[in-house]
């Protein structure tokens, strides 16, 4: 397995995540897209850490730790995101982002 394999997978996941974020009309779907993006990033970190550090220090696992932090971040983010979604839902009765447009100029 080469680095490029992982990078390609990661890139596909990332693009799909972006696609979800851009096109879904449901906040929770958007959240899922974001989770995809985060996963692709974590995958990137771990892959780079693994392959690029081999000539220098094969035992380096810094990328993994960053990925752990990424997961932590994702967890926190998911919690807050859902809380916000709940609040919005109470306020607007909808979680469709295009209906939540009080900032419209």
């Amino acid at each position: 397995m080469t680095l490029q394999h992982y990078l390609v997978i990661s890139a596909i996941l990332f693009s799909l995540g972006i696609f979800a974020v851009l096109t879904r009309k449901n906040a929770i779907s958007i959240l899922m897209g974001i989770e995809l993006i985060l996963n692709s990033c974590n995958l990137n970190f771990v892959a780079f850490s693994r392959f690029v550090s081999i000539p220098v220090d094969p035992e380096n696992i810094d990328g993994q730790i960053i990925a752990i932090f990424g997961i932590v971040l994702a967890a926190a983010e998911a919690a807050v995101f859902l809380a916000i979604i709940l609040a919005i839902y109470r306020e607007f009765g909808s979680i469709r982002p295009d209906e939540v447009d009080t900032l419209k100029g």
Binding site: M1, L3, I9, L16, G17, A20, L31, N42, F51
Partner: protein
């Protein structure tokens, strides 16, 4: 074309599962189905972690994502819609534009990956890492990542409290 060993085969399998389920996440109309597809994706990524010899991370991925976040998402779906099956409505123009942009982005990333010589032919063949759990524990708790770790824990705390506060019913008081 390289040799199709078992390991390679399994790797491609995981990759395929991951990508296919991710595609399902963004494409199925039922949000609950999407959530379950996401679960598959997350499993796939965990599998890929195993291939990268990140055992602890793979476990974490399964526990936190599948056990935590995904459940959270499902709760969110239930609490907002009142029913588990919820149709996802997509406009055509938006779909096309979003697809275009995503595709462009993908093409871009792929060209970058293909055209960066430094990243070519980097393999980890024949190298096995020692189990990482212990080292991760040490790195986090007594080495250079102590401070980020503490910050992350505070972040989690804050997120916890914040989420509880925001989602409270009587917010104005």
């Amino acid at each position: 074309m390289e040799e199709l060993s078992l390991k390679t085969f399994i790797f491609y399998g995981f990759a395929l599962i991951t990508i296919a389920s991710a595609f399902a996440v963004v494409s199925v109309r039922n949000i609950v189905h999407a959530a379950f597809a996401l679960m598959v994706t997350l499993f796939g990524v965990a599998g890929l972690y195993v291939f990268l010899q990140a055992d602890f991370l793979a476990a974490t991925q399964v526990i936190v994502y599948v056990g935590g976040i995904l459940v959270l998402i499902l709760f969110g779906v239930m609490m907002t819609s009142g029913r588990l099956e919820m149709r996802i409505h997509i406009q055509r123009g938006q779909l096309l534009l979003g697809g275009g942009i995503s595709l462009a982005l993908l093409m871009l990333l792929l060209t970058v990956i293909a055209n960066t010589p430094k990243w070519e032919n980097l393999t980890d063949d024949g190298l096995t890492l020692k189990p990482t759990t212990e080292r991760i524990g040490k790195l986090i708790l007594e080495d250079k990542f102590l401070l980020p770790f503490e910050v992350a824990s505070v972040l989690l705390l804050v997120a916890l409290i914040g989420a509880a506060l925001i989602s409270r019913k009587e917010i104005r008081d």
